[in-house]
């Protein structure tokens, strides 16, 4: 059975999440603060960690904990789940090696879907790709099962949210995806400027591999489009 660690200082939320995930067949342990969680991680690593950024008085406790957890394991999937939704927090969290960043607006079914997707990704990374799950658009290659993206044969390190956005755009090249559609596809509820900053981050990640990358076009007032 897969073990999920929830580090959350609000007991009601922690208990609700734990219960929902148990229903999905996971073994769940909840921790209210950083030292407690770290002690448990040292004894035994979880298969996935769900971390709140603010832990009681420790405003950035989640960030510190993530750094410590990454030191213990480079591969364990980590999801930030926070009431904070500023670009600064999102970028800081993802830089520390988190696999996804969710605000607490996300519903439990959305959360469960992400957790399942992350487990699938880590599970299938070693298995050979099945051709029916591959989306290829020119130099872009998306593995929908394993949630990986390659550009010109090189891996683009996308978070789950970012992957789903690229997937939503690339599935129907030339079609304008408005912000609502992107949010639906990425299972997030955010405002316009967050979508804008997600798109910006995605472009930057592709440009890191290919400086001439310009496939994601902005259609002002409407949304975004994958250009061939």
């Amino acid at each position: 059975m897969r073990r999920i660690a929830i580090v959350e200082d609000e007991p009601a939320i922690g208990a609700n999440y734990a219960e929902a995930l148990r229903r999905h067949g996971y073994e769940v342990a909840t921790y209210a603060n950083r030292p407690e969680a770290l002690a448990a991680f040292r004894t035994r690593l979880p298969d996935l960690a769900l971390v709140d950024i603010g832990l009681g008085d420790d405003v950035d406790g989640g960030f510190t904990l993530t750094r410590e957890l990454r030191a213990l394991s480079a591969t364990v999937p980590i999801i930030f789940l926070s009431a904070r939704d500023s670009d600064f927090d999102i970028v800081a969290g993802l830089r520390l090696g988190a696999d996804d960043y969710l605000t607490k607006d996300a519903s439990l079914p959305h959360l469960a879907a992400r957790i399942a997707a992350l487990f699938r990704r880590s599970e299938l990374l070693s298995a050979p790709p099945a051709s029916e799950d591959i989306v290829e658009r020119g130099a872009l290659r998306l593995d929908v099962k394993r949630l990986t993206a390659d550009w010109q044969g090189k891996r683009v390190d996308l978070t789950l949210t970012e992957f789903w956005m690229v997937h939503a755009l690339a599935r129907h090249p030339g079609h304008v995806k408005d912000r609502d559609a992107l949010m639906r596809d990425a299972s997030i509820v955010v405002d316009d400027s967050t979508i804008t900053s997600h798109i910006k981050r995605i472009r930057k990640k592709f440009q890191a591999i290919d400086p001439t990358f310009d496939r994601i076009a902005t259609v002002y007032g409407m949304g975004y489009r994958w250009g061939e």
Binding site: I13, K104, S193
Partner: protein
């Protein structure tokens, strides 16, 4: 009753206060008058002393008064320089007496010795001072005489040697003093000359022979010496007062100018610190001066700082509120999600659906509330690019047409490219807010979007024929959480953040946004003005 307000600057007020010191010359004048009286008394006493001394020399010498006078002999002794009218003066009749009093002729007094019948026995001295060449006048003296000297001449009696000597026409003195002395009493008198040009002060002393008054000694002098002394004192005093007043008012004027310039600067700074909408534009640099104006500047500065803190608190309130509410809402949401997953009776599902619908709206409100704050945070690392504004505007209009198919939106853009420096995403976000706002307010009427390019700026005007803005709201509309909607209708929450976001974006691009009722009263026009690149 209300007095009319007279606007007086600090300088004018200080100068007005300074007029109090104009009393100083008046004080000086009365002081000088006192001095003059004192001097006159002294002069009278001196004359009385002279008369007494001469009389003392003549007392109890009956022989001197026995001899009949010999006018011819004494006439020869007349002083040659007795200028006024020496020829007509009554001559000395008694050479002996003339000899006794001759030594007194060098004084500025004129001594008469007369007998009971008014016959002049002897006379010495003159009322007129000896003529002496006046020293050459310096340039400064000439200037002074031409300026303040004229004033003094107008105000003060000037001593004059050009008076008519009454003795020349009326003979020996026969005034009140002589009568008093003949009665045996030392008497002084003061009388103007017949032409009024001078005052003659005289003292008469009786000459006793035994118990009998045989003659009178009269000592006469003009009041000119006292007058000259008084005038000199007054001039000196007045010169000093004038100089002090002049220097004082110059210094005070300079001081007041300095003060009022500092106050004016403070006022300008304070006015500049707050823009038309009452927002603190920039903190006021507080002055380091230790006086009250420095104090005022510091307290202005701290008031402004507090005001701007309060304004930023207000602007951040939305995001703080949304942040604080997120956690309890997450509790509610996760609880509802769990509840949904468990078997529920049919009627409970209805309530569940309503609760989740309400929660969705709440979430939308929170998202809107944090949008403004996130936008402000993200502005610091926005990449600026040079881009053409026209396709962004037409794209946004297209987008709005898709979202609101029933809205009638006209769009007029210039044929050329209009390049600006900034972030097209932000401009699109701003236009979305403005257009969505216009669509809601137009309520089915036509909306017109115009891009009007000038040489160095470009204006985007969005006008609709909806209800007019209430008086006084034109500026406040763009503040955080200010809305003019009568009531929040429909499902869309109205937090009054849309136009605030538009303002933040316009300001980021170095532009402005303003809303106004159209001149003909047919609707409202919102205009964004941005600097255009050459």
């Amino acid at each position: 009753m209300k007095l009319p307000r007279i606007a007086l600057g600090i300088r004018a007020q200080l100068l007005l206060v300074l007029t109090v010191f104009l009393a100083l010359p008046w004080l000086g004048l009365s002081y000088v008058r006192e001095l003059e009286r004192f001097l006159r008394d002294a002069q009278e006493r001196t004359l009385a002393g002279t008369a007494q001394a001469v009389a003392t020399a003549l007392h109890d010498r009956p022989r001197l008064f026995a001899t009949p006078p010999d006018p011819i002999a004494s006439f020869a002794r007349e002083r040659a320089d007795d200028r006024a009218s020496g020829a007509s003066l009554p001559p000395s009749a008694s050479p002996e007496i003339a000899q006794i009093i001759e030594g007194l002729s060098r004084t500025t007094a004129r001594i008469w010795v007369i007998d009971r019948q008014g016959v002049v026995l002897a006379r010495a001295g003159s009322l007129f001072p000896p003529a002496s060449p006046s020293p050459p006048e310096s340039t400064w003296g000439r200037v002074r005489r031409a300026t303040v000297g004229r004033l003094y001449q107008a105000v003060l009696d000037q001593p004059s040697d050009d008076f008519s000597d009454d003795a020349a026409t009326q003979g020996a003195p026969h005034g009140r003093d002589v009568e008093g002395a003949l009665g045996g009493i030392l008497t002084t008198d003061r009388r103007p000359t017949s032409d009024g040009k001078a005052v003659i002060v005289s003292a008469a002393h009786p000459i006793w022979v035994g118990d009998e008054v045989r003659g009178v000694v009269v000592a006469e002098q003009t009041g000119n010496a006292v007058l000259a002394e008084r005038n000199r004192a007054f001039e000196r005093l007045f010169n000093i007062v004038l100089a002090v007043l002049l220097v004082g008012s110059l210094a005070l004027t300079a001081y007041a100018t300095w003060l009022s310039s500092r106050i004016r600067r403070l006022r300008d700074d304070a006015e500049r610190a707050i823009d038309e909408q009452g927002r603190v534009r920039a903190p006021l640099a507080s002055s380091g001066a230790g006086d009250e104006i420095g104090d005022l500047s510091r307290s202005f500065s701290s008031v402004l700082a507090r005001l701007s803190e309060y304004a930023s608190y207000q602007e951040k309130m939305a995001s703080r509120l949304s942040h604080e509410l997120r956690t309890p809402i997450a509790v509610v949401r996760s609880s509802l999600d769990n509840l949904k997953a468990s078997p529920l009776p049919a009627e409970a599902r209805v309530y569940m659906a309503r609760a989740q619908e309400g929660l969705a709206r709440l979430t939308q409100i929170l998202t809107r509330m944090s949008e403004a704050a996130r936008l402000e945070q993200s502005l610091s690392d926005v990449e600026r690019v040079r881009f053409d504004l026209v396709p962004v505007v037409t794209g946004c209009v297209e987008g709005i047409r898709l979202v609101y198919p029933e809205a009638r939106i006209a769009c007029a853009v210039p044929p050329e490219t209009v390049e600006i420096d900034g972030a097209p995403d932000l401009i699109a976000q701003m236009l979305d807010k403005l257009l969505a706002n216009a669509v809601e307010f137009a309520a089915g009427s036509a909306i017109a979007v115009r891009v009007e390019a000038a040489s160095s700026s470009v204006a985007i005007a969005v006008d609709n024929d909806g209800p007019l803005l209430p008086e006084g709201m034109e500026g406040r509309l763009f503040e955080s959480m200010v809305s003019v909607r009568a009531a929040a209708g429909g499902n869309e929450p109205h937090l009054g953040l849309g136009l605030y976001i538009a303002r933040v974006i316009a300001q980021f691009h170095g532009g402005t946004v303003a809303a106004a009722n159209k001149a003909d009263g047919s609707g409202v026009v919102v205009t964004v003005t941005l600097p255009r690149l050459a």
